[in-house]
Structure formats: structure tokens, C-alpha cells
């Protein structure tokens, strides 16, 4: 049970909620190791993956999570442009509402879209990424991964490196880290920082090399050139990699136990070198694996009844 009916952004979750999601996810992680990875828990409930922007990874992760919990998962995909020309998001929401689903996961190109659904529908809504705003389940799975690798979250210093301005991952990860007592540091050239990074509540740095020795986690963001309007925000990929790319030399400058993360998909050789990406201090695949367990936990906790009765 969580304190909010929806997860539209990290603001909907208290630190207790986060702790509960992570604990519950541990149980599901165990399930995911079994031969039979399917549970009857959410039998008869309908989970809709409303993906209005292409996404294979997140959608698949939610889809597997729903299936492993025996929920009926429905994929509803459409290009965002179709919703502009024809059916509006509100129309889509009304349609889904009439079909009586229990949970909708929405991925959309535009910020605030999950809020529109929550106004239109009675069921729970999970933000699967809205524009450049938030991606809360990614932040939860990242916390889960960090905790699993480092044993604790409180006091960790996490450098988030790259396109902060256009990253919904950073949009959720920064507040998530603050809620669990970790220190987020956003590291990017000013062209990739939001205009008021102080509002995020993160420390701000321009120089990655200066930060490396103090970091417990280097979280590398994907370079998203397609999102930047009006010219590339840096001169070349080569120059970006030179100043902000994770590589063996930079990894060596970090604490011996420090880890490297990336939400994927990776641009090998740009924000992360291939040897680091595939090395033993990279948790990229652990993140993907954690994603299923964390999303199972989110679904279980959102769809579990309102009554906190003790087991009979």
C-alpha cells in the first residue's frame, strides 16, 4: 500500500513508500530467479501499457512485470502525432476508462500527460515517462540497484552526468535520491543543464573529472541529440566524450567500490566506453533486471486493496 493512488512523479511517494517498494521488490527479485516466474497475485486485473511514444525497454519491462503477476496486460500504442491529429489524449483516456482497466502505465512525449489521465480515469496511473519531466519507476529501479550493489542509500554521492535539461530520468532520480538521504550531483556543460538546476535540489558541477574521486555512483545519461532544438548543445560527440564520457581512465579515478550506471540504451563510445559498459563495475544489466522486480512491486502495491488488514 502506498500513500498515493497514482505515481505521477516522485512527489507522490514518501520515503516510507520508497522503502516499501524496494523491500517488496526484493521478494519479487527472488521470484524472478525461479524456474516458474509467474505468480497468481493480480489475476483478473487489467493493466494497460499506454505508450504514445516509442519505447521498447520500458514497455517490455512493464509488460513482463504484469505477466509475471498474472495480470492481463494490454498494449495500447499509438504515435503521439496521431493523438494530435485525431483522437486527443482525453478521448483516449475516456475510451480506456469505459473499458474498466485497473492500472494504466503511460509513456508520452509531453509533460503532464499522466496528470490528464488521472483526472479522467478512476484507476491508478503510473507515469512511464512524460516528456522531459519525470520517469519515476526508472528512479525506483535505480535506487534498488544502488542499494543492492552498495548496501545502503543514505549518504551516497551520486553523480548524474549528461543531458540533465532534457532528461526525465534525472527529473525523477534527483528528487528520489534526496528522499532517501543521498546527495545528487548533476554534472554537465551549462548547455545541457536546466536554467535553474538549483530548483532540482542537486549540487551542480561542470567538471566531471573534479567530481570523480568523491562519487559512489556515476550515473551516465544517454546523449539525446534529437531532443535538442536549434543546433547541437556541444561541438561534437568526440568532444563530449572527452569531457563527459565514462572510460577506464575515469573509472580508475573513482573510489574502488564505486559503480557505473546507465538507464540505456547506451551510445557506446560517447557517454560510456564499451569496456566500462561491459565491465564488472557497470550495473547496466542489473538495472534492467531490477526494473522488472521494481515494477512488479509498484503494481502489487498500487493494486493491493485499500484495507491494510492483517492476514487471516
Amino acid at each position: 500500500m502506498l500513500s498515493s493512488k497514482h505515481i505521477l512523479g516522485m512527489d507522490d511517494l514518501t520515503s516510507d513508500d520508497i522503502a516499501r517498494v524496494l523491500e517488496t521488490a526484493e521478494s519479487f527479485a527472488e521470484v524472478n530467479q525461479r524456474r516458474i516466474k509467474k505468480l497468481p497475485t493480480l489475476r483478473g486485473l487489467t493493466v494497460v501499457n499506454l505508450f504514445l511514444e516509442p519505447s521498447t525497454r520500458t514497455r517490455t519491462s512493464f509488460e513482463i512485470a504484469a505477466k509475471r503477476l498474472s495480470a492481463d496486460g494490454i498494449n495500447f500504442t499509438a504515435s503521439a502525432s496521431a493523438t494530435v491529429k485525431g483522437e486527443s489524449l482525453r478521448d483516449t483516456a475516456a475510451t480506456l476508462s469505459a473499458m474498466n482497466c485497473d492500472l494504466v502505465i503511460i509513456r508520452h512525449k509531453y509533460a503532464g500527460a499522466p496528470r490528464i489521465l488521472s483526472e479522467m480515469m478512476d484507476c491508478s496511473i503510473v507515469n512511464g515517462g512524460d516528456g522531459i519531466h519525470e520517469h519515476p519507476t526508472q528512479a525506483l529501479l535505480d535506487l534498488y540497484t544502488m542499494k543492492g550493489a552498495l548496501g545502503h542509500l543514505e549518504g551516497l554521492r551520486v553523480g548524474i552526468v549528461g543531458d540533465i535539461a532534457h532528461s526525465r530520468v534525472a527529473g525523477s532520480l534527483v528528487p528520489a535520491l534526496r528522499k532517501v538521504g543521498a546527495t545528487p550531483v548533476v554534472i554537465a556543460p551549462p548547455t545541457l543543464l536546466p536554467s535553474r538546476p538549483d530548483v532540482l535540489g542537486a549540487e551542480v558541477a561542470w567538471d566531471l573529472d573534479e567530481q570523480l574521486p568523491s562519487l559512489d555512483v556515476a550515473y551516465m545519461l544517454r546523449v539525446q541529440m534529437e531532443r535538442s532544438d536549434g543546433g547541437m548543445p556541444f561541438p561534437s560527440l568526440r568532444e563530449y566524450a572527452r569531457f563527459y564520457g565514462m572510460n577506464a581512465r575515469r573509472l580508475a579515478a573513482m573510489k574502488p567500490e564505486a559503480i557505473v550506471m546507465h538507464p540505456g540504451p547506451m551510445n557506446r563510445g560517447v557517454e560510456i566506453s564499451a569496456d566500462v559498459a561491459d565491465g564488472d563495475r557497470s550495473l547496466v544489466l542489473t538495472q534492467v533486471e531490477s526494473g522488472v522486480a521494481v515494477r512488479m512491486a509498484v503494481m502489487y502495491l498500487l493494486l493491493g486493496g485499500a484495507d491494510s488488514g492483517v492476514a487471516a
Binding site: 505521477l8 512525449k109 509533460a111 500527460a113 535553474r196 532544438d229
Partner: protein, 430 residues
């Protein structure tokens, strides 16, 4: 036809009048202003407790006709104007098709003649289809009665084009109205760049996108000698630029909107209310305070609504997809009465300056004075009427007000245009 307005507080700073007295109107003109006037034959209107102002003018209105009659028409928009206390509105050219030739101006004026509830002034386009490339037939439109020229709604014009337009418009002794938006800086911005864009993950639109064009157009006005009116200024920096231009004696005027005065980016919350999506975007509280200070010190000439009606289904889209703008004709006076007069920031003579004389002077419209011989375009305000902005009560065809739910004190009771009621006892009668 004679009318005696009895016992109102009659306010007209242009003639130095602020006193409880009577106004006698005959055949559309004010014939006498004084105490204890009598009217042997005709209608007497009790104005005790009311404020009588020169008719209010909105210098910046989008009427949507032709093209989007589902959102507003000349009939509905001018009736909304009457309901809001205005005796005249100035229609912007960004209709479908764009008002970029004489015939379009004539169409609007003729239509307003038969269907309009208040006076209509037409603002023509500067460039063909407002595309910022080829000059529109400015002289043709001026001959048909256009009062000013603007590509409002578009910020695409390059400096060279604006300079050419100013040089040409100057020949007709009319003003150019600049919509200041450097699109290369505004980009895909939908909210002020800063706290709100960062917090809500929405593309930001920096103040500088406006200010660089304000600075540029002031400089071009200086170069060409064309009269320049700056539409809907939203930033403290813009006001400072105009203050400086006026100090240098340039023929520059400007307007601010009620939403930029009385709202700020803080009003855009995680509810993503698209009625708060404006062009230019709502700025900071400090910017709003600077706009008000600009009005008070005379830097800002007038309050204009930028009344922008939009269909409900379009405003119901995602924030980034919804159109910009709020309606304003029916809320502007109430907001000013509440947030400025009742709040004690300024008094009714200032309101007359900002909402009646300011727009007329800026756009060179015929003067209205509360003295013998002037045309009887008057707004009678009930300064103590309490009301709430409700989507159910709009006269406008659209409901997209950023002030829904606001509780206001002060509302137009009557509007007289050439001595005839357009609004009487709060009801539109035309």
C-alpha cells in the same frame, strides 16, 4: 434622445475631473457636466455609488472571425467587450485568412457595423499572411480604416523586414505594433524559463527572447521615426527598455495584460492548467511587480487584454500542445478594480488613464473626454459589486479564462456608446 447620468463619481483625468456630478447627454454627445443638472424630457439614470469613466478601449483583442467562428465572432466578441465595460476593441489581424488587405479591413468594419455591440478598430497585418517576408498592402488597409499594423502572434520578422515595414508605415502616420518574440530564443518554450520550466519539465522561454526584440524594435523605431507600440510586455527588462526609450523622447508606447500583471509563473502548478499557458509566458512575481510599477510611473501606457478565445477541446490538450492565451475582455476591469483600486495601489483616475485614454493615445484613436462636445462613450462601473469569475457566465464563445474562480469586486454596470446603451444594468442590450 437625452440621458442624464445622475450623481455618479465622474472621473476623467484628461480634463482634471474627479467629482460627484451629473452628465447630460443629447444626440450621442455629452452636452453638460455639472451639479444639479435637470432634464425636462428624457431618461434619468441613477449613478449614485457608481464610477463614470470615459469608455474603456481594449487595444489588443482576437475576435477569430473570419476562420474560427466556433471560438469567437465579431458579434460574440464585441458583446463580451460590452459585458466587460469596453466601448471599443481593436481586432488583431491573425484571423484565417489573415487581415492583410483592404477588403479584409472593410469586411470587418462592415460586419461590426451591423453585428457589433461596441466600436471595432481593425489592426492590419504588416506582412502578407503575417509570414514576415513580403509587405502587406498597408496603404490599402489604411485607406479602408485600419488603425495600426501588426504581425502579432508571430515573432518571425527579421530586423531588415521590420525596418522596411516601419519606414513604409510611417508614411501613413500610423503605429506598428510589435509582438516581441525572438523565436530562436523562445524555441519550443511554453513557460517562463527558470523555476517553473525546471520543476515541471516543460520547455522554457527566456525573458531575453522578448527583451532582445524590444531593444531591437526601439532602435529601429529610432532609426525610422515610425511610431512603435509594444504589445503585451511581460518582463521587468522590457519595461526598463521602454522607460529608457521614453526618457530619450522616442515615440514608443506599450501595453501590459491583466494576466501578466496579476498572475505569475508560480500559478502554473503540477496541475498543468493550460489556461495558464500564455504567449508571452507568465513570468516571475518580480516581473509582474515591475509591470505594475511601469503603469504607475507612466512607462506603460495601457492595459490590454490580449483576449485570446480558444475551443475547449484544444485547450484540453497536453500543455505543450495546447494553444497559447486566455480570454480577458470580461475579466480585465474587475481584476483591475479588485487588485489595483480596492487594493489601494491606485485610484479610478489611473484606471481611466490605463484603460481609456492610454490605448486611444497609443493607437491614435479618437479622443473621448467627459466634457461638453465629446462623443458619449462612457463606462459606468459599480465599484462595490462582488462577483466570481465563472465559466458559465461568459458572453464570449470561449471559456478559457486563466481567472476562473477568482473572486472580484467591481464590475461594469452600463456601457454607453454614442449615447446608447450597449450594456445596461449588467446585461448586454445590443
Amino acid at each position: 434622445m437625452a440621458l442624464l447620468l445622475r450623481g455618479g463619481r465622474v472621473v476623467d483625468p484628461l480634463v482634471g475631473l474627479d467629482a460627484v456630478c451629473d452628465v447630460l447627454i443629447r444626440d450621442g454627445l455629452i452636452v453638460e457636466v455639472g451639479v444639479g443638472l435637470t432634464l425636462p424630457k428624457g431618461e434619468e439614470v441613477d449613478c449614485a455609488g457608481m464610477v463614470v469613466l470615459p469608455g474603456l478601449v481594449d487595444a489588443h483583442t482576437h475576435l477569430r472571425e473570419p476562420g474560427r467562428e466556433d471560438e469567437e465572432t465579431i458579434a460574440s466578441g464585441t458583446r463580451a467587450a460590452a459585458a466587460g465595460g469596453f466601448t471599443a476593441v481593436c481586432a488583431m489581424a491573425n484571423t484565417e485568412p489573415v487581415a492583410d488587405e483592404g477588403a479584409a479591413v472593410r469586411f470587418l468594419l462592415e460586419k461590426a457595423e451591423t453585428e457589433g455591440a461596441v466600436r471595432l478598430h481593425v489592426i492590419g497585418a504588416v506582412t502578407v499572411k503575417q509570414e514576415g517576408r513580403v509587405l502587406a498592402e498597408i496603404g490599402d488597409m489604411a485607406s479602408e480604416g485600419a488603425v495600426a499594423f501588426s504581425d502579432d502572434g508571430h515573432g518571425v520578422a527579421e530586423a531588415g523586414t521590420v525596418r522596411l515595414a516601419m519606414d513604409y508605415i510611417k508614411r501613413f502616420r500610423l503605429p506598428i505594433i510589435s509582438h516581441c518574440e525572438d523565436t530562436t530564443l523562445a524555441g519550443k518554450g511554453v513557460v517562463n524559463e527558470g523555476v517553473v520550466s525546471t520543476r515541471l519539465g516543460l520547455p522554457g522561454w527566456p525573458s531575453a527572447a522578448e527583451e532582445v526584440q524590444v531593444a531591437r524594435d526601439i532602435r529601429l523605431a529610432e532609426l525610422t521615426g515610425c511610431r512603435l507600440h509594444l504589445a503585451h510586455l511581460s518582463t521587468a527588462g522590457s519595461v526598463a527598455l521602454v522607460r529608457d526609450a521614453k526618457a530619450r523622447g522616442l515615440a514608443v508606447t506599450c501595453e501590459v495584460t491583466p494576466h501578466h500583471l496579476f498572475l505569475s509563473e508560480d500559478d502554473i502548478t503540477d496541475q498543468y492548467d493550460t489556461n495558464m499557458k500564455m504567449n508571452p509566458p507568465l513570468r516571475t512575481r518580480e516581473d509582474a511587480a515591475a509591470l505594475l510599477a511601469g503603469l504607475i510611473d507612466g512607462t506603460v501606457d495601457c492595459i490590454a487584454t490580449d483576449h485570446a478565445p480558444h475551443a475547449a477541446h484544444e485547450k484540453a490538450l497536453e500543455f505543450e500542445l495546447a494553444p497559447f492565451g486566455t480570454t480577458g475582455l470580461e475579466t480585465a476591469l474587475g481584476l483591475v478594480a479588485t487588485r489595483v483600486v480596492t487594493a489601494g495601489v491606485a485610484d479610478w483616475p489611473e484606471v481611466a488613464t490605463w484603460m481609456a485614454h492610454g490605448p486611444r493615445l497609443a493607437l491614435g484613436l479618437p479622443e473621448v473626454r467627459i466634457e461638453a462636445g465629446s462623443v458619449a462613450d462612457l463606462t459606468i462601473v459599480d465599484p462595490s459589486q462582488e462577483w466570481a469569475v465563472s465559466s458559465k457566465e461568459f458572453v464570449s464563445r470561449s471559456r478559457n479564462s486563466a481567472f476562473l474562480g477568482a473572486k472580484l469586486t467591481g464590475r461594469a454596470r452600463d456601457v454607453l456608446i454614442g449615447g446608447y446603451f450597449a450594456l445596461q444594468d449588467g446585461k448586454v442590450v445590443v
